[in-house]
Symmetry: D2
Subunit: 423 residues, 4 copies
Amino acid sequence: MDRFRDSEALARFATDPASAYAAVRAASEALASPLSPEDTTPQSMEDASPTKWHLAHTTWFFETFVLEPRPGHRPFDPSFRVLFNSYYNTVGEQHPRPRRGLITRPSLAEVRAYRASVDERMAAVLAGAPTPEELAVIELGLHHEQQHQELMLTDLKHLFSSNPLKPVYHDAERPRIRAAKSGWLAWGGGERWIGHDGEGFAFDNEGPRHRLWLEGFELASRPVTNAEYLAFMADGGYDRPELWLSDGWATVQSEEWNAPLYWEDRDGEWWTLTLGGAEPLRPDDPVTHVSLYEADAYATWACARLPSEAEWECAAWRLPVEGNFVESGALHPSPSEHASDEHPVQMYGDVWEWTRSAYAPYPRYQPPEGAIGEYNGKFMSNQLVLRGGSCATPRSHVRETYRNFFYPHQRWQFTGIRLARDL
Amino acid sequence: MDRFRDSEALARFATDPASAYAAVRAASEALASPLSPEDTTPQSMEDASPTKWHLAHTTWFFETFVLEPRPGHRPFDPSFRVLFNSYYNTVGEQHPRPRRGLITRPSLAEVRAYRASVDERMAAVLAGAPTPEELAVIELGLHHEQQHQELMLTDLKHLFSSNPLKPVYHDAERPRIRAAKSGWLAWGGGERWIGHDGEGFAFDNEGPRHRLWLEGFELASRPVTNAEYLAFMADGGYDRPELWLSDGWATVQSEEWNAPLYWEDRDGEWWTLTLGGAEPLRPDDPVTHVSLYEADAYATWACARLPSEAEWECAAWRLPVEGNFVESGALHPSPSEHASDEHPVQMYGDVWEWTRSAYAPYPRYQPPEGAIGEYNGKFMSNQLVLRGGSCATPRSHVRETYRNFFYPHQRWQFTGIRLARDL
Amino acid sequence: MDRFRDSEALARFATDPASAYAAVRAASEALASPLSPEDTTPQSMEDASPTKWHLAHTTWFFETFVLEPRPGHRPFDPSFRVLFNSYYNTVGEQHPRPRRGLITRPSLAEVRAYRASVDERMAAVLAGAPTPEELAVIELGLHHEQQHQELMLTDLKHLFSSNPLKPVYHDAERPRIRAAKSGWLAWGGGERWIGHDGEGFAFDNEGPRHRLWLEGFELASRPVTNAEYLAFMADGGYDRPELWLSDGWATVQSEEWNAPLYWEDRDGEWWTLTLGGAEPLRPDDPVTHVSLYEADAYATWACARLPSEAEWECAAWRLPVEGNFVESGALHPSPSEHASDEHPVQMYGDVWEWTRSAYAPYPRYQPPEGAIGEYNGKFMSNQLVLRGGSCATPRSHVRETYRNFFYPHQRWQFTGIRLARDL
Amino acid sequence: MDRFRDSEALARFATDPASAYAAVRAASEALASPLSPEDTTPQSMEDASPTKWHLAHTTWFFETFVLEPRPGHRPFDPSFRVLFNSYYNTVGEQHPRPRRGLITRPSLAEVRAYRASVDERMAAVLAGAPTPEELAVIELGLHHEQQHQELMLTDLKHLFSSNPLKPVYHDAERPRIRAAKSGWLAWGGGERWIGHDGEGFAFDNEGPRHRLWLEGFELASRPVTNAEYLAFMADGGYDRPELWLSDGWATVQSEEWNAPLYWEDRDGEWWTLTLGGAEPLRPDDPVTHVSLYEADAYATWACARLPSEAEWECAAWRLPVEGNFVESGALHPSPSEHASDEHPVQMYGDVWEWTRSAYAPYPRYQPPEGAIGEYNGKFMSNQLVLRGGSCATPRSHVRETYRNFFYPHQRWQFTGIRLARDL
């Protein structure tokens, strides 16, 4: 699985796009390599997709948006245009999302052949003289593929969780580290700028860079740990409606939540599922697989709140993009060995940090023309922004301005909690 | 029905709270007066409540939060504490919301007796020396009752719409006015303040007043009309996914929407339901009973967008709170006789204007202690802010800073559309 | 409420149809007389209907099938033809069943006026020279109205059960009687005839009379009591899948059943709901409000089975139609004062007895031509036959050959259990 | 695929159980042999199961009921006891049925190893001196495996139908034959015996043999064809509620049925899905993939009715068990080359023929003691009996007394229609 440990893969795109392309594409295949054809086929819930589908859809992206517009294009298989279209209405019809797991054919081997065929043609494009527009779409396609690499892992984890045998994806020794004591770090208020300035790659939703006014705030020095979350639970966290958003409390009751996703009470001891199998819960690990509702209730209980995305971005300003990313191979959040009175730790990697900010367009945001305009803009309702990447994110994928987004009830990503409060 | 036409009712609270109390309470009864016991009992959907329940719940508010804490209090009926509690977990259990329409007893007459009993005791409180804390809760209770007055009308309209006989709530001649041409009005950008400053009554969610940075923007001079919305429909509005938010498009398909709520195609002519009965759609009326999704899709089609709540509030600055409110007796949005190149019209009354702003806490917002803290704060997820009041809102109820909120799919309020765009 | 105690009402039809008509119609109104307009309006579940709807629909039957075909007919209100049509596709459209509770207008008073108007016109028909065909439909309409009288009571009970105040429909002292010990009574096998022979009124589904072969069997001398059912529960009845039909066990789990409908555990003591209010469960009463699934599981636990409808009918042969019917005014099943070694008791009245027989057409059954053909035949799938009538059935309504039918999961009727076993 | 063409497999059981065992087990593997690991994994609806699950569950049956009770038994994998238990509560817990498609591990190869291991141990049992009780369970297990062979084909067909590529399971030329004209054959009434007499193998639900009285009836000489069913459709069959059972009409509307399952209207021409791929509908083929509701509506339209199971069994008396079974390799119903004025054709094979008989216990039926008692008895509610086997049934599997059963809305089996009428 070393091939996906090329943490600089995408950083090379500007100078050597063919190498970047090859590295990112290889990383997807490396992630799928421990899996059997059976593992890559079913879909465990509507939110998740089969590995085989991810491998095909990321390929479809290049075929549809790079190869198809070129003269003389002949599709690998004309039926794939519908079958592996995720949600691009501009491209045309889509195979219904809830039925992605029923596509037993093409087989995994055929999907690999599809990848090889497109890769060969893409290599020719890159070896030729791609236009700047083509290069821009290719770069977008690689960032897109990285997003699906993360989903491959979280979707697979969800699938495996439905199997009482609790299959193991990989064997990984995770070091045992004590979590540092959490402290508060302060930032003054005033006029601030956030959003991407256009230097280097960013998704459209990260810009335009714009001004806003921030009040002074404090941020926790590190994410909330399992031990801290257990204290919330022991204090009746899941039984006290006054701690919850109204929609959150309704969800707790209808879903009968009493712990984060993948936690299991085995005779009074909490276990959790990792991609390395089920194991006793480690108290020092950052809590993960929590919904926005749980994150918000925890913050209320802790006399704090969640940060806004602007606060998070200001706090992350000029911090190096380092942390427990997919390249570490741990595939599970861990405590940091580093602690500091000067700056927050674990802002990147480990867990996506829920913010209280609705996923909405920045001032003067305009989605791009054409099908690519469907990439981000149409999802700007009902979701909330998360920041910083997780243990399943490729390191070269995130930035200070990166905006991830999920619905407040969703828990199958590596989501976690960083507290904030007013100064 | 003249009693609810006291448009200054609540404005008198500071100087004559007993009179304000009597006037607001009387307005609720006036609104219910055309209704039979049968009309006040059923519940047509989970979002709506029976008139009888509204009449009782608003009374419960005073009994629970003003009378109950007083020494020697004896409840009118101890079972009402649960039966008419809406969502205050701090107070205790609640009768399940979806079963509000199955409570045939107490009868309407008994609920009226309940109102009379509480009113009598409240009169004694007000004639005595209420504490400032009590006065604050009483004032809140009256604003609360006004909110339910609006819901009584919109919930009743929904109930009546389920009856093929299309019952008529009231007879009202609405004048026929031509809508003025819509224009654009511009506001420059810069640092701005929004939110309530604490002078006079406001809900907790309207504050604290705080600074933010606005980019320059334009706002339409008046709300979108039925004629304009019909043009969107004629241009395939409900069939073109590229115009819609992703969740909106999913809703269009699952709900099979092809027009605003209450519209009915009768042999090629559009009719709509009003509280005065079914009638042919008037092209000059502001479009109403649209969801946020429809408002957003319309705006996209019109090459514009919805305003943010800050933009709306800045545009409303110092405008008089005048318009087609409940006191006009029309109970339906109408074109304005006024037009202006200087300022927007119909900012108040007619239709609640959807904004693109998620309903979220303002910086440094803290919900109040105790049960009253559940009034607003716990709903700050998944909903969007609407501004300006409607034809069913009491005039003394709204303000420049007033934040109403609904889920993006909801349509049974008098909701409408005002366009905005970047400068 | 004495007017519905005319237990011979329908028996007079052959000799004095006008008097029979008046008596049956008056009984419906007597049943509704303790109810407020509010009580008669809502619908507590799709299976149930509002009292107001029952009063109107039974009237609609006469207007549609007797008055409408007559020359010069003018409908009371043309909209009622759709509004109060239950399921007659041959007549035309129907107001959707799940929305019967949203029809607040016509009011109860207007429905009573509708009844009066139709009754007046029906009196004229009966005073004239009705054709034999008309007389047949009128007689059917009166039996139909009696069915709805029973439903008025059971639907109201369900509605009242949704109100935490547990409203009381009537005050009735029920005598306390000890249940006799249950014994077994035997019938030999052989060729037998069942089904109605055409003498006197019967529904179409009771015929044709036909031969069948019965093996010898035994029947319990009386219905199962609450005390006996409690022994089943104490022995883990609701926790032992081996006692249940597969679909029954699935229902127990999805519905979280642990007792008959309307039973409530109050601090370790079982209470139940009656139309006279909540009361401690009486151990000697016949168990009621059980589904077919519960009846079958109880029988399996008791090393017995449910009777077939043919067995029941043979056992009922020549027994007088006597028992605890609606005319007793108890409106709840009770133990019988009578016991016998010779014949079963309580075959009629108290509780409808579940049989193991699917509701299916008898050999050579043909539904009548026209709309009346929809009365019974189209329901001959997925339901099971019950026999004997209940404490809510008019005495003149049932017969030895009478076939009632409900779905196996339904519990809101006065259903009960009589055991059978092979000889 | 020749190995499953051993149509005498089970007939040898009495004389050579080891050979019968090997042949039936080999047939399952032959049926799965054209499938990839991907094909055998997902579950396309709750009613269906993955091929991999079928292969494992049939093996679990022998391991659990034959090997496990033997001294010194060591399970192949202890977790399989729960994982591959279908519905035997007496054995213990079951993996939830709707999640059978999420079990990617064990892999198909591991399931084959499981089969080999159990087969090896079973061979030792059979080579030793199995007790009569063991032999009885082994014979039951082989009939059980044949039932799952049929389900493997119908479940796979359903899975493939969800794939827009319409995968092909096998290539088979089906001969083109003209359907004979349908005629009526008469049987007189009288006392008759049906049910299995205990000679040779039968499922418990086929007995006891018992007497009943039959009225004279006629049966159609052959099943209804596609051409005949198209006439029903052309005559508004799916739009005329008067033809349908009430529950059937509700299903037509909620499921939006307008043709049998797997039919597709391609530009005005009907196509259908076969296991050999999509093809234009052949008018002479027996109509298949119809629900009981459709069968009943068709019969009503044709002025006929469905037969009772007793009528069918009497008509099948002494007919040879011959027809288009799985061994023909067609895997689709076809017209018969044979026609006769003397006896009905295609009573066996081609399509399971819906009867109007509820699946209920025969008089004096008792389920066996222990877990095997769950095999049939607990399903005796809500389902209807089908007779005669289909093109996916092994020839040695059916008998004159064989009772298959499905819910009236189910369509994914090879179900069809044979008409009956009163004499």
